[in-house]
Amino acid sequence: MPESTDPATPLLEVDDLKVSFATRDGVVRAVDGLSLSVGRQEVVGIVGESGSGKSVSMYSLLGLVRDANVTISGRVRFEGRDILGLPDEDLRVIRGRDVAMIFQDPMTALTPVYNVGWQIVEQIRAHEDVTKAQARARAVELLGEVGIPDPARRVDLYPHEFSGGMRQRVVIAMALSCHPRLLIADEPTTALDVTTQAQILELIKKLQATYGSSVVLITHDMGVISEMADRVVVMYAGRPVEVGDRREVIRQPRHPYTWGLLGAVPRVESKRNRLVTIPGTAVSPLNLPVGCAFAPRCAHRFEACDQRPDLHGQGAHLDACWLSDEQKVQIRARVAATGVTT
């Protein structure tokens, strides 16, 4: 049983998480100080481009980063209990039962050599004392719940006999089999077509409402964040650069990186002649600058940017940028009007 079920404590609290890898070329600082909290029944979106540390941060807090050269520090509390660095047998109880994960490619979560029923049954029996027959009945029920037609027959099929969208449904059924309190979904729809993506997002929303789970949704797509998340964390180079209510961040983004990220997406609702671009490419986590990691690509950098900014601000909308609030408002308006970040 969980140590603390006080509804006031956040379900998940991450404090100054750092993940680095010692490599031949030097130390790769993949996550460089991430703090965030996930409330009960809250959907938190983590958005960022490849290499921004969004996946590795979530993997590391569950003890899924098993690299001999990794160093993880910080504090992670799940329901008030410190879980970072717990021995694997303790984490194994948490993973799957309390916290479940959905991955981008459903085949990474399914083994091709067993039928899907076997895999779901194994998952249930790892955490609960039920008979095979009971677990199997539950597997059929779960497959039906995630919208797989004819579940009693499909439970005996192998992963390759399902389409990509159906496979992702199987993974979701597996993730939900023990009614986890936290679901971490890592790019759950990136590999899927837009109509299938819509089905899967609806399904996650519906199940989240039914079970009251909290969700951490990792994605690079601001559109998906907009449809799913309550709050959003924008990550760049292993750090959060902006955090806030989803609508606030979309309507009044405060960090120059978020401006670029939002402006770079071609929209279906309006044709624009020119997309906002962020010059250059993401910094290498091998040699992060001393100051603000975004400064080398930022058109608005000034002296203050030699110091690394932390998240700051009033209320729940925070950002890590040294520009004054007035400057941010002015520049944002100019970017929106001209489509250029410079």
């Binding site: 481009e49 299938t196 690079h220 309507r251 997406v265 279906v268």
Partner: protein, 327 residues
């Protein structure tokens, strides 16, 4: 009028025959099922559709990388289907491809300079010095340092590699560039850089683009006209703006309604049309309209009678018995 059209496809069909489980009965998969389209000089024709709809196969058929099963493709007023390799070569020069995956479409063992120079070498462009100068020019055209000729593809990021692919495609001054998902492997900020570059090049070099993608936002952004594909057929075609604002085909309407949009709280919520089921297997196409089993507004007629692509108003075609947004 005809002069205006650079590429014209008439009723292009591409079948693939395969045997299930190695020795089973032959199964014919109709990947492209009778596509007719025109690409006009200087425009961008976007083709959008979900995976497996045949859009990439169509692209390969149009540039004769894959022989068509039936139908005709005219390029610059010349029929190019069925031409021998030798007779096709002068036309090939005029039409070039940019591929999706900048990792697998560049030979990892060759230097960037050689990769970009290869089309020049094949077409006997000129002596070594001319070739070098042209390669340097091409690299700077696409925004790369001309000094990088001696580097290998792995030394470049995904966006830079896609620029190398574009430089190679432009080497012989083509009039048509067929881009098959050119930005889908890239991060959004890099994607925006490449899309802007492609727009600049189109203007500077008067290129015609056939732009194939699954991302509806990207297609809208780049295209003058758009064709929507489903199960090997074009189900709707029209100029980008009207097609996106007033889709006629229920499939287009559903596709557009589920694209995740940025909601800043100022727009009224959209009616989402979430289709049920998956795209049917193209080897077992449903009778009648191929979309009818998933269509939210299908009627009895749709299950029996196959609609053809008809022009409802100038430039606006749809293959549906009951098009939306009548008038």
């Amino acid at each position: 009028m005809t002069d205006d059209v650079l590429l014209r496809a008439t009723d292009v069909v591409k079948n693939f025959t395969m045997r299930s489980r190695g020795s089973g009965p032959r199964v014919v998969v109709q990947a492209v099922a009778g596509v007719s389209l025109e690409a006009r000089r200087g425009e961008t024709l976007g083709i959008v559709g979900e995976s497996g709809c045949g859009k990439s196969t169509l692209a390969r058929c149009l540039v004769q990388l894959t022989p068509v099963t039936s139908g005709h493709v005219e390029f610059n007023g010349v029929e190019i289907t069925g031409l021998s390799r030798r007779r096709l070569r002068p036309h090939r020069r005029e039409m070039q491809l940019v591929f999706q995956d900048p990792y697998s479409s560049l030979n990892p063992r060759r230097k960037v300079g050689d990769i970009v120079a290869e089309p020049l070498r094949i077409s006997h462009f000129g002596d070594a010095e001319h070739t070098r100068a042209r390669v340097a020019e091409l690299l700077s055209t696409v925004g790369l340092d001309p000094a990088s000729v001696n580097r290998y593809p792995h030394e470049f990021s995904g966006g830079q590699r896609q620029r190398i692919g574009i430089a190679r495609a432009l080497a012989l001054n083509p009039s048509l560039v067929v881009a098959d998902e050119p930005v889908s492997a890239l991060d959004v900020s890099v994607q925006a850089q490449v899309l802007n570059l492609m727009a600049d090049l189109q203007r500077e070099l008067s290129l015609t683009y056939l732009f194939i993608a699954h991302d509806l936002g990207v297609v809208r952004h780049v295209s003058d006209r758009v064709g929507v594909m489903y199960l090997g057929e074009i189900v709707e075609m029209g100029d980008a703006e009207t097609l996106y604002e007033r889709p006629l085909h229920p499939y287009t309407e559903a596709l557009l309604s589920v694209v995740p949009e940025l909601d800043d709280g100022t727009h009224p919520p959209r009616d989402r049309i979430v289709l049920t089921g998956d795209v049917p297997n193209p080897s077992h196409k449903p009778p009648g309209c191929p979309f009818h089993p998933r269509c939210p507004v299908a009627q009895a007629k749709c299950a029996v009678e196959k609609p053809t692509l008809v022009e409802l108003s100038p430039g606006r075609s749809v293959a549906c018995h009951f098009p939306r947004h009548d008038s």
